[in-house]
């Protein structure tokens, strides 16, 4: 620990990045394995609903802020029903928001048509930028809610039901299973390297090939060991996740129909404006 602190801030930040990723994976696994009501809904139902929700969100016209705002009901309701922390989900926006803002930031300057909003003239580009950000946030939240209430094994089962080739699904699941193992190995290797190279940011170019190459060779050897272990446990090209779940039940169907009706209603008419006009 003393050596670590001598080597400086950059190493600490660097190592915490890999550690943070491992923690994030474990955290998501913990969330998806909880005994919540939403977690018990059939994975196929949640997967299809998520895809339809995102499709509906991105299909809104670029100035239709009010119509799009109505779609906040789905994440809002699922956050409450699944008893999930909204704050925890916000860090997932770190990849999406910068990209979306980068693409939309010029809209207010390029789309100069003026729109009156509550008596204040604003550029139509402001509206299109707002819908773009809303679409980005809503779609990320929907994906988060799916993965926070459904384990990847169950999701793989849903993919199997959608006739995605079984071998491809198994490969996807194995990749996921070995990510934490290899991340821990990367963490150890880079930690060992950085402790011997204090005040150095990242890996020196002379060690580019040998550092990652060693890891690669060890990973390939590990793949062979994994295969041999799987054979010893009776692996014949299929993985056990397929046997765990049945087809969607009555409750799953009700859940699906309810949300489909809500999506259809909010997509077909601006519910927020209709309710607002009553008052």
């Amino acid at each position: 620990m003393e050596l670590f602190s001598v080597s400086g801030l950059s190493e600490r930040v660097y190592m915490s990045k890999i550690g943070g990723t491992i923690r994030e994976i474990h955290y998501m696994e913990t969330l998806s394995s909880r005994d919540q009501w939403v977690n018990q809904i059939h994975p196929l139902v949640k997967f299809v609903l998520t895809v339809i929700y995102i499709l509906a969100v991105v299909s809104f016209y670029k100035y239709d802020v009010a119509g799009l705002a109505g779609f906040a009901v789905y994440p809002l309701a699922v956050f409450i029903l699944a008893e999930l922390s909204f704050l925890d989900s916000l860090k997932r926006l770190r990849f999406v928001l910068p990209l979306v803002c980068l693409v939309g930031i010029l809209n207010p300057f390029l789309d100069k048509q003026e729109v009156m909003l509550a008596g204040v003239p604003v550029s139509a580009g402001v509206l299109s930028m707002t819908t773009l950000i809303m679409k980005g946030v809503f779609s990320v939240l929907a994906s988060y809610l799916l993965i926070a209430t459904t384990s990847l094994e169950k999701l793989c089962y849903a993919l199997g039901m959608l006739h995605i080739p079984r071998a491809a699904v198994t490969q996807f699941l194995l990749t996921y299973r070995y990510i934490t193992v290899l991340l821990e190995e990367v963490d150890r290797i880079t930690q060992a390297y950085l402790l011997r190279a204090p005040r150095q940011k990242g890996i020196h170019f002379k060690a580019w090939g040998s550092l990652a190459g060693q890891l690669l060779l060890r990973s390939l050897d590990r793949a062979n060991e994994v295969y041999e272990s799987m054979l010893l446990r009776g692996y014949q090209g299929d993985y056990g996740y397929m046997r765990e779940h049945a087809v969607p039940g009555r409750q799953d169907r009700r859940y699906f129909i309810f949300w489909m009706a809500v999506f259809a209603l909010f997509r077909a008419c601006p519910v927020i404006l209709v309710i607002g006009s009553i008052f």
């Binding site: 895809v51 995102i54 100035y63 409450i80 729109v115 390939l220 793949a223 090209g237 404006l273």
Partner: protein
């Protein structure tokens, strides 16, 4: 370069999903995963390796910044184009689902932009023809750098094209492309060098692991290395020249195409379904006539929106808590 859901229109997302699905189905057929079950664990672990190795920061000399491995090119050099492509799909899907790095709807675009170009074009157009006559450190380095630069250029161009086709940004297509391409040229060079360093290390330690390496195809290919390079060079010059010409004289390529076909830059349509669609759009949009400056109804619309939004949120939250209350009651009794 991971695209978010907000940047793609449903039609574009659907088309890219379909294209990626065709490439994936072809790959599954070519790899014959069911016939060789050993491939599946190897692909799984290699996918995890790419994910983990992309967390390593490789310092770029003299800049103070760092770069990462190019997953597509590395996987296709080790597993071949088809197995590499399927493995990359797994990596991209996990990045999307677990870390929100790329959207679920935009996954088809991301597979095409990063996995298809990296694995299919990088491997079949560059890696395989260059390695047919035997491997060397220089060839591996050249193939990695060229492959990464070409595939990243194509990927970046596709991102701009997909965003433009989705009608998301007001930025002109030419300006967007002009912004994307040079950045990705530099990234491609760095990623290519890092990937080359790793592949050269593997070549020196265990050359049999590389695709088309020792024990690979011994038969001479249809094209020699020189021929392939010449074809690639001429194609790049032609495509680059034509694209830049079109971009400079016709900044808005789609409008230009439409004008050539219809005589106008706008497509106008009338008749049953168009009129009905127009009336639906008018009733469902926030600003049917955009409430341009001078409109009296705009302030009222915004007010209705605020009130309506508050009511909807209150009803939604209230209904959820009532639902939960009754479920807990039923559970305890």
């Amino acid at each position: 370069m991971h695209m978010a859901d907000a940047l793609v229109a449903p039609a574009v997302a659907g088309m890219m999903y379909a294209s990626s699905a065709v490439a994936a189905a072809y790959s599954v057929k070519k790899v014959r995963l069911n016939a060789d079950p050993k491939k599946v664990p190897v692909m799984g672990v290699m996918g995890a390796f790419v994910f983990a190795a992309q967390m390593i920061n490789f310092t770029i000399p003299g800049t103070g910044s760092s770069g990462h491995l190019c997953g597509g090119m590395l996987l296709s050099a080790l597993l071949g184009p088809y197995a590499g492509f399927l493995t990359m799909i797994g990596v991209l899907a996990i990045q999307c689902l677990l870390f929100a790095d790329g959207g679920l709807l935009a996954l088809g675009c991301n597979i095409w932009n990063m996995a298809f170009y990296g694995c299919f074009l990088g491997s079949l157009l560059i890696w395989k023809p260059m390695m047919r006559q035997g491997m060397s450190k220089a060839k591996i380095t050249a193939a990695s750098v060229l492959g990464c630069m070409l595939t990243l250029q194509l990927g970046a161009f596709s991102v701009a094209l997909e965003t433009f086709a989705s009608g998301i940004t007001e930025l002109p297509f030419a300006a967007f492309v002009g912004f994307m391409q040079p950045i990705h040229l530099a990234i491609g060079l760095v990623e290519g060098l890092i990937t080359a360093a790793v592949l050269v290390f593997v070549y020196e330690a265990r050359p049999e692991l590389l695709f088309c390496g020792a024990g690979g195809e011994k038969k001479a290919g249809r094209f020699s290395f020189k021929h392939t390079m010449a074809i690639l060079g001429v194609s790049a010059a032609l495509i680059g020249g034509l694209l830049s010409l079109a971009a400079s004289s016709h900044p808005d390529g789609l409008e230009w195409s439409i004008e050539k076909i219809t005589g106008s830059t706008e497509l106008e349509a009338s008749g049953g379904i168009y009129d009905r669609a127009g009336s639906i759009q008018e009733t469902t949009s926030l600003l049917p006539d955009y409430a341009w400056k001078g409109s009296d109804s705009a302030a009222g619309t915004a007010f209705s929106g605020l009130i309506g939004g508050t009511v909807v949120v209150a009803v939604c939250v209230g209904a959820c808590y009532i639902f939960q209350f009754f479920r807990k009651e039923r559970k305890t009794t």
